[in-house]
């Protein structure tokens, strides 16, 4: 069986700085993978390379078996039109939501469907309402984003990505900009998605979410995957001191059970 995402030898440099130094990663269909690591470890860049928000410097990425880009003289070449098409197959949710403020919630969720996929207005509206229902915001369809709470905005952003019928969903620290009491509603939506069998790659600081939801956890350090495996192993019996330190920092204070 082919993997939903297959990454081989991925490298990415920003001018002199090499952020990713050769990443191999497989994401099976229906799997939820969580990327952990301190800031600067390259986890966000890795995520952004999957849908080519950043163009990799070297390496190959396959989406459900399709190699992205064309090989030319030992290097991968990418055409903007191909990348646009690829991005319709991958959904992405951002830390700061990035909803379009000049459009209503419904228009936000319809925009990509009509403009990029060329669906009819009626079909797009139908799909949009289905996805808004799924994230529990169908009653906010006619509101402008400015009138929503952070958690609601993020759920709309998830609906906007889902409406494109993506093969994979990417989540880039989607709860980091939220008030603590709003984090739960977004994580619950993501849990629901994982249970529905959506293939997901998430960058997050929510270790608890990683433990309970992820099928696989990857710990990135200095542009490489330091440890990867089932959350029980990586999070409870880490092999390296680096991961132990990271986890200790994240669970310094805990409520007694």
């Amino acid at each position: 069986m082919t993997n939903a995402v297959e990454i081989r030898g991925l490298r990415k440099s920003f001018s002199d700085l090499e952020v990713l130094k050769g990443i191999d990663l497989d994401v099976a269909e229906g799997e939820a993978v969580v990327l952990l690591g301190s800031s600067g470890s390259g986890k966000s860049t890795l995520l952004r390379c999957i849908n080519f928000m950043e163009e990799p410097t070297a390496g190959q990425i396959r989406l459900n078996g399709d190699l992205i880009g064309t090989e030319q003289g030992g290097r991968m070449r990418y055409h903007e039109a191909d990348l646009c098409k690829l991005r319709t197959r991958i959904g992405m949710v951002f830390q700061h939501f990035n909803l379009f403020p000049h459009m209503t919630v419904l228009e936000n969720v319809m925009e990509g469907q009509t403009i990029v996929l060329g669906r009819s207005k009626a079909e797009a509206k139908d799909k949009a309402m289905t996805q808004l229902l799924r994230v529990g915001l169908e009653m906010k369809a006619e509101e402008y984003p400015a009138r929503l709470s952070g958690g609601q905005k993020q759920r709309v952003a998830i609906a906007r990505a889902l409406a494109m019928d993506p093969e994979v969903m990417l989540f880039d620290e989607v709860t980091s900009a939220l008030d603590p009491e709003l984090v739960g509603e977004v994580l619950k939506t993501m849990l629901q998605l994982a249970e529905d069998g959506m293939t997901m790659v998430c960058v997050t600081h929510e270790i608890g979410f990683a433990y309970h939801v992820a099928n696989k956890v990857c710990f990135l350090h200095d542009g490489l995957i330091l440890e990867q495996g089932a959350p029980q192993f990586v999070l409870q019996t880490p092999e390296t001191q680096r991961v132990r330190d990271f986890l200790a920092g994240h669970s310094l204070f805990k409520l007694p059970n």
Partner: protein, 235 residues
């Protein structure tokens, strides 16, 4: 002696009758001013958008060419430009140049350079995340710009836009120097006819004041109506 002169001057009898009797001359001038102003906006704004997009283009030659045009027309005085378009250009391309055409041409290009910078500022002021979100749902750069970025940017640009348009309106007075019968020109004519420069130029100043005030009130109202979604504006 000096006191006497001052007293005499202070007792200067304002007489607006002669000026107001020829009000139709001034109104005609006002109408001509508005025409040039309006046409310069109609041509200048789209041209400005073009220059801004050109300057932000990834094609180096295009970007540098547009930068040069913008900087050139921003740094040279409009009066020099007007003289150039009126006196020099017709010889160079051997066409007949009327004051009207020269005026519209000068002020369209001149204001487009300033509008370009407003467009650029507006587009740059939009959060990078908006480009990213559009990109992530598979939009091309072009449709990201027209569907997502510009609609937001234009709203923010309105105050800067209004300010620049008012500058343009004031700058149109220069066309009187190439004998186009705008309000300023008509005032000069009238003042030399009725020997009442004080009254004529005072009336004209008041006319400009109210014309500009009306325009800026209109834009403030427009801005207020568009500000509904509660975003900041760019000045």
């Amino acid at each position: 002696m000096v006191v006497e002169i001052v007293r005499e001057r202070l007792l200067y009898e304002w007489d607006f009758v002669a000026t107001l009797a020829d009000m139709d001359l001034l109104l005609l001038g006002l109408w001509n001013t508005i025409q040039v102003f309006f046409l310069a906006l109609v041509f200048g704004v789209p041209l400005g958008l073009g220059l801004a997009l050109g300057r932000m283009s990834r094609i180096l030659v295009l970007s540098q060419l547009c930068s040069f045009i913008i900087e050139f027309f921003r740094t040279t005085p409009p009066l020099v430009q007007l003289f150039w378009f009126f006196f020099a250009l017709p010889i160079l391309i051997s066409v007949q140049m009327t004051p009207f055409v020269a005026s519209v041409l000068t002020f369209s290009i001149q204001s487009s350079a300033f509008f370009a910078e407003i467009f650029r500022g507006g587009i740059n002021s939009i959060d990078k995340g908006q480009w990213e979100a559009a990109k992530a749902i598979g939009m091309t750069r072009k449709s990201s710009l027209t569907r997502i970025i510009l609609p937001q940017a234009v709203k923010r640009m309105i105050p800067a836009f209004a300010e620049r348009s008012i500058e343009l309106l004031k700058t149109t007075t220069l066309i009187s120097t190439v004998s186009y019968a705008d309000l300023m020109f008509q005032a000069n004519e009238l003042a030399s006819k009725n020997f009442r420069p004080l009254e004529v130029y005072t009336v004209v100043a008041i006319m400009y004041f109210f014309l500009i005030l009306t325009f800026s009130q209109l834009t403030i109202r427009l801005e207020y109506r568009l500000a509904k979604t509660g975003e900041g504006t760019l000045r």
